[in-house]
């Protein structure tokens, strides 16, 4: 089975993670622009970060047979630094049309301040102007209200809910997301956002329509195999394979594919030019190879002592 991890901060992860993800069946990742775990102090570091997302990280993922896409945006935490935010807002139109940018994101609320609200709205307008999907980060604190408010503002700005992914959902927020026609994403992030046993129960209760599973793996204690492990657990616990495929692959492709920048052919049948430049040949159709599954590299084991 092929998987997409549509929320993964890969700049924080090692090559071992890429290897393990590829071995577990992950064919594509989407890396949302976010903060670094600490606030940036100037727009220059933001510029270099966005350059990395569309540059070296894209190449790096390709070396492991994984397609890398990203979303571009000013995150809610850093929206509170007005000087920084103004500078970043000037950069965003410049980066939003780069190759492989599948959405404006992750944007939304953190503390739900006036500045967060201002830059959230400006970026929603930009997404509309550039005809790009949106990835919304919902707040950790006051989550239920913050999630409803995020959707209200999207509607107020005339966005089509079918082009907006509401991320970091939980049992309390999912119903409203689905009812209002938004994509409901869940981050399988240990101890905080969502565990995968809970996720399986949500799939059981709601089915997989509009549901997207991601890992949100980043610089914290997180799990780059979150999508693959959830898929396996769901299958073990009797969720139909088609629903697992929707939640762990197809829905992310449908939602973010609306950008025109992400197609199944990218990994199934890459064009020669692109394959030579950016992507270590792991194509399934062209190479006649089976997708790589469940062959976890065990590079962290002390049993394998030799380093060549």
């Amino acid at each position: 089975m092929m998987f997409i991890d549509p929320h993964a901060h890969m700049v924080s992860r090692t090559t071992d993670d890429y290897e393990a993800m590829a071995a577990a069946g992950v064919v594509a990742v989407i890396e949302p622009a976010f903060w670094l775990g600490q606030p940036r102090t100037n727009v220059g570091s933001y510029l270099d970060y966005l350059s990395t997302l569309v540059g070296f990280e894209r190449f790096r993922a390709g070396q492991f047979g994984i397609r890398h896409y990203c979303t571009i945006g000013l995150n809610s935490k850093e929206a509170n630094n007005e000087a920084l935010a103004e500078g970043v807002m000037e950069l965003i139109p410049r980066f939003a049309l780069k190759e492989g940018v599948v959405a404006i994101g992750e944007i939304g609320y953190d503390e739900q301040t006036a500045l967060e609200d201002k830059y959230f709205r400006l970026q929603l307008d930009l997404a509309k102007e550039l005809d790009l999907p949106v990835m919304i980060h919902t707040p950790h604190r006051d989550k239920k209200r913050g999630t409803s408010r995020s959707m209200d503002v999207c509607i107020e700005h005339g966005l089509d809910p079918a082009k907006v992914v509401i991320d970091h959902n939980n049992e309390e927020t999912v119903r409203e997301c689905l009812d209002r026609g938004f994509w409901a994403a869940f981050s399988i992030y240990p101890s905080t956002k969502m565990g995968n046993e809970r996720m399986v129960e949500i799939l059981r209760q709601y089915g997989a329509r509009q549901i997207i599973v991601d890992s949100a793996c980043d610089w914290g204690i997180s799990e780059p195999l979150g999508v693959a492990k959830t898929a396996r657990l769901a299958l073990q616990r009797g969720i139909p394979e088609e629903q697992v495929r929707l939640a762990c692959y197809q829905n992310a492709l449908d939602a973010y594919g609306q950008s025109g920048q992400m197609k199944e052919a990218d990994w199934l049948n890459p064009v020669d030019i692109d394959q030579r430049a950016l992507y270590e040949g792991n194509s399934i159709l062209r190479g006649g190879r089976e997708p790589r599954v469940e062959k976890l590299a065990n590079r962290r084991s002390m049993d394998d002592l030799i380093i060549k």
């Binding site: 510029l47 350059s51 569309v54 070296f56 950069l91 139109p93 410049r94 190759e99 430049a277 950016l278």
Partner: protein, 286 residues
């Protein structure tokens, strides 16, 4: 000055575009010559693959022949329609301020843009002033960006000093790139590069790793004294390796090289007959 080249690129592109795409491209080209705002330049470059697609450019033989007359050594192999469109847009910008613009674009380019930006070097205005930024482009680790400068591109042959040239050739070995597509590889070979290559071969042997066979192409014409021993030793390596070593020996000015080459008469004779040469070996051992 670059008008004939722009016209060839435009013809290659038009052969691949529908009417609406041709119109879009013509509009953008007109905007470029009128010194566009930063934003319209960024949008034009960002939109190029979205509007025109990324299909192979695949120029016909006539276009390639015209191009070879204008910019010897410049290869459009592996170019997409979007690459050609971006190069053409950039080549249409005014000369004034171009170097600053080029640097600015390189700093925020995605991988595909970087490739196009550097592939187009031979046709940009004031290309002398871009050398520093091109040096920056070689410092990255994305092989395809490195090759946009180093392969099928005559810019380095014309503009690089010996130091930058030497390090570009060396870096090709370290990023896993081939040497043979480097334009000017033979004519710009030099003593210093040969010496560094020999040292590199010693490091590789000490580490128990294979010595890339292409290095003997750079070493051969400068091989003297103990360097002949290194070439002799490479004759014991595998197929491509020993044929490359034989070619290196054949190019050496040191009489001792001929004696070593006599140990492999079948290779010596193949070289004499013109059957074994760098082009043939590159094609076979790629």
């Amino acid at each position: 000055m670059n008008e004939p080249v722009r016209s060839i690129l435009r013809d290659c592109l038009r052969a691949r575009l529908d009417e609406a795409q041709k119109r879009w491209l013509d509009e953008q080209l007109a905007a470029m010559t009128a010194s566009p705002s930063d934003k319209s330049l960024h949008v034009a470059l960002g939109m190029a693959p979205r509007r025109l697609g990324k299909a192979p450019l695949a120029p016909d033989a006539e276009a390639l022949a015209r191009l070879a007359g204008q910019v010897p050594g410049w290869s459009l192999a592996g170019w997409s329609v979007a690459d050609a469109a971006r190069v053409l847009l950039l080549a249409s910008l005014p000369a004034e301020g171009f170097a600053e613009r080029f640097r600015d674009l390189c700093q925020t380019a995605d991988v595909a843009e970087s490739i196009a930006l550097y592939r187009g070097l031979p046709v940009y205005p004031n290309s002398d002033a871009l050398e520093r930024q091109v040096g920056e482009g070689l410092r990255g680790n994305v092989q395809a960006v490195f090759e946009a400068i180093a392969h099928g591109n005559p810019y380095a042959r014309q503009h690089f000093d010996a130091h930058r040239w030497t390090h570009m050739v060396l870096k090709a070995l370290f990023v896993g790139s081939r040497l043979s597509p480097i334009v000017g590889l033979d004519e710009r070979a030099n003593d210093e590069l040969a010496r560094i290559m020999i040292d590199f071969s010693h490091e590789r042997r000490a580490a128990g790793r294979p010595v890339p066979w292409e290095i003997w192409r750079c070493v051969g014409p400068f091989a003297r004294g103990s360097m002949i021993d290194d070439l002799a030793r490479a004759l014991d390596d595998g197929d491509c390796f020993r044929q490359a070593a034989a070619l290196g020996l054949a190019a050496s000015p040191d009489p001792a090289a001929a004696a070593v080459l006599d140990r492999v008469p079948e290779l010596r004779d193949a070289i004499a007959r013109g059957e074994l040469n760098w082009e043939a070996l590159s094609a076979r051992c790629a």
